[in-house]
């Protein structure tokens, strides 16, 4: 069991913000922090890593205290068993893939783990290459493997996949999950992508202005329970056109436009720019495989 309670005054874009969170994580779970930029997610990871000082709080990992401001306990970053992966890969450019991993070994640690990790992330053929000859996805696999060398208690991933295209992302997500399972890790992920959160995590914490605004199973947190329609999106009205006895409303959902038939009585309460929920039954939409 991991328990993290942290308080810190942060300087945000619009003035001071008090970060105040309390999170309990079961060993072996993937937990995601989800929220807008500047909500305090990265600060939370940095405080867990010991790279940022909390004003007040405690971090307990399986009864080991990493931080307790009341008892004036604060382990140094290198004493905390964490693996950290950032969006930017932070690899040593002058070292090969394998050397990057070897460099992360602790003194006297068995080198076998390096081979094992190279195997898991399928970089065997590329292990003697330097980072400049690798693609973004390959570099991120190296960074992931390197974060695992010291067998961390917690693997922390700060938007590790946001620079990658969607195909590469999906592949990396699978590597992360494989490593997570193989080493029975506790993984803490920051992600902006709802799809990713749902695929990856057991629990999601929605962070809003330094506080937890929602928490729970990702499907429960991200779907509106208000209405039973399973084909449900929120979007913005961009156009309303009257046609015959009905109206055609164009709605921007993410980067896609959809058109919905509406009635006069519904249109009376809506104008362009309004946020709306588009809902339909799961029984109506057709699925067609692309390519």
């Amino acid at each position: 069991m991991i328990h993290i309670a942290l308080q810190k005054k942060l300087i945000a874009a619009n003035g001071e913000m008090l970060l105040d969170i309390d999170i309990s994580i079961e060993q072996g779970k993937v937990v995601t922090l989800y929220g807008d930029s500047g909500a305090g997610k990265t600060s939370i990871l940095r405080m867990i890593a010991g790279l940022l000082q909390a004003d007040k709080g405690s971090i307990t990992i399986d009864k080991h205290i990493w931080l307790d401001t009341d008892q004036r306990i604060c382990l140094k970053p290198q004493q905390r068993k964490i693996g950290f992966v950032f969006q930017e890969y932070a690899l040593f450019p002058n070292m090969t893939v394998k050397e990057n991993l070897l460099f992360a070994l602790e003194k006297g640690q068995d080198k076998h783990i390096v081979e094992e990790l190279i195997d898991i992330v399928e970089l065997g053929n590329l292990q003697h290459r330097k980072p400049e000859y690798l693609s973004g996805g390959q570099k991120q696999r190296v960074a992931l493997a390197r974060a695992m060398v010291r067998k961390p208690k917690i693997l922390m991933l700060d938007e590790p996949l946001s620079a990658l295209d969607s195909k590469m992302r999906a592949k990396l997500q699978d590597y992360i999950l494989r490593i997570h399972k193989q080493y029975n890790l506790t993984t803490l992920l920051i992600s902006h992508e709802i799809g990713e959160v749902i695929k990856m995590s057991d629990t999601v914490y929605v962070i809003d202005h330094g506080r937890i605004s929602k928490q729970g199973n990702p499907i429960d947190v991200f779907t509106t329970k208000h209405i039973s329609g399973k084909f449900q999106f929120s979007g913005e009205i961009v156009q309303i056109i009257k046609e015959d006895v009905i109206y055609i409303v164009t709605i921007l959902i993410g980067t896609n436009f959809v058109k919905i038939i509406a009635q006069e009585s519904e249109i009376e309460t809506m104008t362009i720019g309004d946020n709306v929920i588009v809902a339909s039954k799961a029984f109506n939409p057709l699925l067609q495989k692309i390519n």
Binding site: K225, H226, I227, S228, G229, K230, D244, V245, I246, I261, Q263, E266, A279, K281, A282, F283, N284
Partner: protein
């Protein structure tokens, strides 16, 4: 959208699907949804609930007892007809409240629907959404 208030009288669950029967003013409707009492707190026998469905999904017949597969049906009287080029809108006064149907103008002429006609208003079980 059409909205009918009612009370949940039965819930039959199989896997993640539930077939819910709702009593609205003595008329029974059924809706099938991908929720169970475990996933949706409003799915409780005796709960008041709203059934929501699109006007374009409403089926109209002049026959008071149509022999088709649709079980959700209620008799009503046509209150207004708004004729359009391709589509027409009917408002119908029923035992469960006022309902709106949008049908093709072709169908309106073929059925020779007029204000004051008694019609059977129908909606498929798979087209009804439930809302608290």
């Amino acid at each position: 959208m059409n909205s009918i208030k009612g009370e949940i009288v039965t819930i039959q669950t199989n896997g993640s699907l539930s077939l819910v029967t709702i009593d609205s003013n003595g008329i029974f409707f059924s809706a099938i949804i991908i929720e169970t009492p475990n996933t949706a707190s409003y799915l409780k026998i005796g709960n008041q609930i709203k059934m929501i469905f699109k006007e374009t999904e409403v089926i109209i017949d002049k026959n008071p007892k149509p022999t088709i597969s649709i079980q959700n049906r209620v008799l009503g009287k046509i209150l207004t007809i708004t004729k359009g080029e391709l589509l027409s809108k009917l408002t119908i006064d029923t035992m469960v409240g006022q309902l709106t149907a949008i049908i093709t103008s072709d169908a309106l002429y073929k059925l020779q629907l007029e204000v004051g006609n008694t019609v059977t208003t129908m909606i498929k079980t798979t087209e009804i959404m439930l809302s608290e």
